[in-house]
């Protein structure tokens, strides 16, 4: 791998200047590398991070194509790596005008990485540096513990989609507790509802007593209030003090729970495993925002490369070349879902709608279609609006909030269905629906969504880890249960129980063999709750 030459670097610096003028914000330093096919072969399995730790599955990935995205939450061919400084990769023989377009696209990505709040936890560190340290740590452990390091990596990776990414991000964004008291919160929310449960009447009376204190004493109200509490509950101060120092238990972060509470990992001879689990967990958390913003990120970059390229004075004469490449990349496919095309159009649509003031109560209150069509307040706030969208949303919210019927109609989108024409042995594609709701659902169904699995603290014991899969109308992939729970049992050092929902067996068979004529007429599946137990490397299943 080598850096791009000075000529190309100068073009990049020119692009940065113009992008900044347009409003994009990013760090000054970036690193651009030329990447060859051979580099790609080695980089792709390591999700383009050259310093990623070594793991045999990566070697295997070199030998074959990629598996399912759900399992590998990151695109193997990412151009831009969200590090400090940001790293981007280029084909050696791109002509200058194409580089200008790609540079703008890359700057769009960098702006997105460095401003979208879902990336907040990646802003303060350089991931390549961290990954290098992790790689060295793993190499050292491997020299001491041999292949067992790989088992621990494997088993941790088996759970690395069950890290509480949203919890992490929400902790980072929690507003500082100015102006109100944690003690007061704890008294009303925890103490009166858990430790010393009060009746509703008493509770209301306590609130009223506090309000009275505020009215009577103003600034010192809280002290006065708690003086009385202290008299009635002498243990309150001690309990509150204890609660303050208790770390919150991570129910949603299964991997972290195991890391912190597994009796097996806590043994002296197994302490080294904690380091490996932590590395795997950190790596997963680093990639989480990337996969949750694919459509936005690519859409944002495509929006800007198109806008900025057309304004760039340096590329005169290559408009047609650009148009051809740009159309190929950002055209809506006749059938299929192209994140570049969808995201770019959605950003443009939002900008226009915000310019007209459509995201307002006034517009929403309009019932007449003609009035809605003519509605234009010329707010001039469209640009600001899309910058706010890029800062605050992820794919799920982006699609759910903004993909509306007007957008579907404008771009003539539809949900395409496919059915088998048995005698001719062909698949027939047909227009299934032009309804925005159905289109939205189709897109949402494609988005990355790990199952919601939490640790059941009530039923977890040192010898048993009890996991609960919260029902979201989708079963877990059965074939993977054995492998994943086997690893979980190893890391916990004892029995692992997983509660989940499955479609009743009789119906599964019916769905395959019986062939109802109408495809949409199928009744909703009948669910049943089941419990899987992994004990001494044997998986058993029982109905609840």
């Amino acid at each position: 791998m080598q850096l791009i030459d000075q000529h190309a670097k100068a073009i990049m610096e020119g692009c940065k200047e113009r992008a900044r003028q347009a409003g994009l914000r990013f760090d000054d330093e970036t690193l651009e590398y030329v990447v060859t096919n051979r580099d790609l072969l080695e980089l792709a399995p390591k999700v383009m991070i050259p310093t990623m730790y070594d793991y045999w599955v990566h070697d295997l990935e070199v030998l074959k194509g990629r598996g399912r995205y759900e399992l590998y939450p990151s695109n193997p061919y990412e151009t831009v790596i969200n590090t400090r400084p940001a790293i981007s990769y280029y084909n050696d023989n791109n002509p200058d005008w194409l580089n200008v377009m790609i540079f703008y696209h890359v700057l769009g990505h960098i702006d997105f990485f460095q401003n979208n709040l879902f990336f907040r936890h990646t802003w303060d560190d350089d991931f390549t540096g961290q990954a290098l340290a992790a790689k060295r740590a793993i190499a050292r452990l491997r020299s001491e513990h041999g292949r067992w390091v790989d088992y621990v990596i494997e088993f941790s990776r088996g759970l690395d989609n069950l890290v509480d990414f949203h919890g992490l991000v929400s902790d980072l964004h929690r507003a500082p507790q100015d102006g109100w008291s944690g003690r007061l919160d704890w008294y009303f929310d925890v103490f009166l509802q858990g430790a010393r449960p009060a009746t509703v009447a008493d509770y209301v009376q306590e609130i009223e007593r506090y309000n009275q204190c505020v009215r009577d004493h103003g600034q010192t109200a809280e002290d006065v209030f708690f003086r009385d509490v202290q008299r009635r509950h002498p243990e309150f101060a001690a309990l509150y003090d204890k609660a303050l120092h208790r770390k919150p238990v991570q129910r949603r972060d299964v991997l972290r729970y195991i890391l912190e509470h597994s009796p097996f990992l806590d043994r002296e001879e197994n302490k080294w495993m904690q380091q490996v689990v932590q590395i795997v967990r950190q790596t997963s958390l680093y990639f989480q925002p990337q996969i949750r913003t694919k459509i936005m990120n690519e859409g944002w970059s495509s929006y800007w490369h198109e806008k900025l390229f057309r304004q760039d004075d340096r590329i005169a004469g290559h408009e047609v070349d650009f148009a051809r490449v740009n159309a190929a990349v950002t055209a809506m496919p006749r059938v299929g879902l192209n994140p570049y095309a969808l995201g770019m159009r959605l950003f443009a649509f939002i900008e226009e709608a915000a310019d007209q003031g459509r995201y307002s109560r006034e517009f929403l209150a309009l019932l007449d279609a003609e009035d809605r069509r003519r509605f234009d307040r010329q707010t001039g706030r469209g640009r600001d609006y899309i910058f706010a969208v890029r800062e605050n949303l992820n794919d799920h919210l982006f699609v759910r909030n903004f993909l509306e019927q007007d957008f579907v109609d404008r771009h003539r989108l539809f949900v395409a269905g496919r059915r088998l024409d048995q005698p001719r042995l062909v698949w027939q594609w047909y227009v299934k629906s032009r309804d925005a709701g159905q289109y939205k659902q189709m897109v949402l169904d494609q988005l990355y969504h790990p199952p919601h699995i939490t640790v059941d603290l009530e039923r977890t014991r040192p010898e048993t880890l009890y996991l609960v899969h919260h029902h979201e109308a989708k079963p877990l992939v059965r074939d993977y249960l054995h492998g994943a729970l086997l690893g979980c049992e190893f890391l916990w050092g004892g029995k692992v129980v997983l509660e989940t929902s499955e479609v009743k067996a009789a119906e599964r068979a019916g769905a395959v063999n019986g062939r109802p004529d109408d495809d949409d007429g199928a009744a909703p599946p009948d669910w049943e709750r089941v419990r899987y137990t992994m004990h001494e490397r044997k998986l058993s299943r029982e109905l609840i």
């Binding site: 074959k64 194509g65 084909n91 790989d150 088992y151 494997e154």
Partner: protein, 429 residues
């Protein structure tokens, strides 16, 4: 996962459809950069290491993780390639998104452009064009970017070594009619390539005894011996027939109507593996014959046709075995070959009770080193023994002729380890 095609070959319909937004990436999409496949030699080493590591997992008490997927790239004139693709999945707790989808009604996709609701906008063949190179079996549609090209021989080696398939029981070496080695084995008097000193000395002594230059009871003086040119014995290079095992393998399969879809896939993929394994066992000394049957059997030229022939009419199993018997008799294969017959079917047969079929099978068993029958349970109807299975069991051939005849009943959704286990059953001694 299907990767979207690079943008300069944009599909209209029909063509590959990609509804997975995560399959798109900047480097291939924007910059048209695709990774080259590394040369074969650079990779086989790693593959072996990986397989060794995988074998060690069992010692540590964990199940194996690596599966050998294979793609067959059929080529014309028997030049098919077998591509070995090692695969593994990292097992995680993930949602099964396709649980509600039916085989003939897969999930919806996005679309754009003209068309009323309900209007058909395009068609796509169910089976991709074989020229595009998508094979059957695990790993389908994957690995287009970096495939490990190997040949069937390597696959056989891996099967034998890693999956501990048994080695062949030698039926006795046979004289090869076509292979020769050259060796200095013939003797020639007077001239040649290498003087055979011991033989020459013996000849010399014999001649001199005849000339009475050596008398009994005396130690002869070598300097007095007469040396005739014809006494010199030389070795000369000569062509020797090689003694080697060789085999002819008959692959038979049912291509009747009921076989469409999974049963055919299972049979064919199992036959690919068996073919590879036998190729390895006989170090390439192997002849293959391919026979398809519905109500009548026909021999086809190459694996390509065998692999790709589409389903036809009804089912008469006897016809296939009758054809094998006829070929063996006509070409007198028994004398020079180890004969293997592998037959794949879904177990359906119009010949109730096997009245025609069983005599033919018994005839095959008289000469075949192994007759392996695979029945793929196609899942139609209630779970019951199929016709072929029933009459085979009734005939008691399976127990009486266990040395020669083996049966494997394979579920239609069997995975790779199950298929390999099936092969082990079919060929184990």
């Amino acid at each position: 996962m299907r990767r979207p095609p690079p943008p300069d070959r944009r599909p209209g319909l029909p063509g590959p459809v990609c509804n997975d937004p995560y399959a798109y990436g900047d480097l291939p999409w924007l910059q048209a950069l695709t990774a080259l496949a590394l040369p074969l030699a650079a990779r086989l080493g790693t593959l072996d290491d990986l397989m060794q590591r995988d074998a060690r997992r069992e010692e540590d008490g964990f199940p194996r993780k690596i599966r050998i997927g294979r793609l067959v790239k059929p080529g014309r004139g028997g030049k098919h390639k077998v591509v070995v693709v090692p695969t593994t999945v990292e097992e995680k707790l993930v949602h099964d998104n396709s649980f509600a989808e039916r085989a003939d009604q897969p999930g919806p996709a996005g679309g754009s452009g003209e068309g009323e609701e309900g209007e058909v906008i395009g068609e796509q063949p169910v089976r991709p064009d074989p020229d595009e190179g998508d094979g059957q079996g695990p790993g389908q549609g994957e690995g287009a970017a970096h495939e490990l090209e190997s040949n069937a021989y390597d696959l056989g080696r891996i099967l034998t070594e890693q999956f501990r398939l048994p080695n062949l029981e030698d039926k006795g070496k046979k004289r090869s009619l076509t292979r020769y080695v050259y060796d200095l084995t013939d003797r020639h008097r007077g001239f040649g390539q290498l003087l055979d000193k011991k033989a020459t000395l013996r000849q010399l002594v014999e001649t001199n005894i005849g000339l009475e230059r050596i008398a009994a009871g005396h130690v002869p003086d070598p300097a007095d011996l007469l040396i005739a040119p014809r006494d010199k014995v030389y070795r000369v290079l000569s062509r020797e027939r090689d003694f080697e095992s060789q085999a002819v393998v008959f692959f038979l399969r049912d291509y009747s109507g009921s076989m469409s879809g999974r049963p055919t896939e299972q049979v064919v993929s199992q036959h690919v593996l068996i073919y590879s394994w036998i190729l390895y066992q006989y170090a390439g000394q192997i002849e293959t014959r391919f026979i398809l049957h519905d109500t009548e059997a026909k021999e086809v030229d190459d694996f390509y046709t065998y692999y790709n022939s589409r389903v036809a009419g009804g089912t008469k199993v006897a016809s296939a075995f009758a054809l094998v018997n006829e070929i063996v008799a006509r070409e007198n294969l028994v004398q020079d070959y180890n004969i293997y017959v592998f037959y794949g079917t879904d177990g359906d047969d119009w010949d109730t009770g096997g009245k025609e079929c069983l005599p033919e099978i018994e005839a095959v068993l008289r000469y075949a080193a192994r007759l392996g029958i695979t029945i793929v349970d196609n899942g139609y109807g209630p779970a019951r023994d199929s016709e072929v299975q029933k009459y085979l069991q009734a005939s008691q051939l399976l127990t009486q002729r266990r040395d020669r005849l083996r049966l494997d009943v394979l579920p239609a959704d069997a995975d790779e380890p199950r298929v390999i286990e099936g092969i082990r059953q079919l060929i184990s001694p």
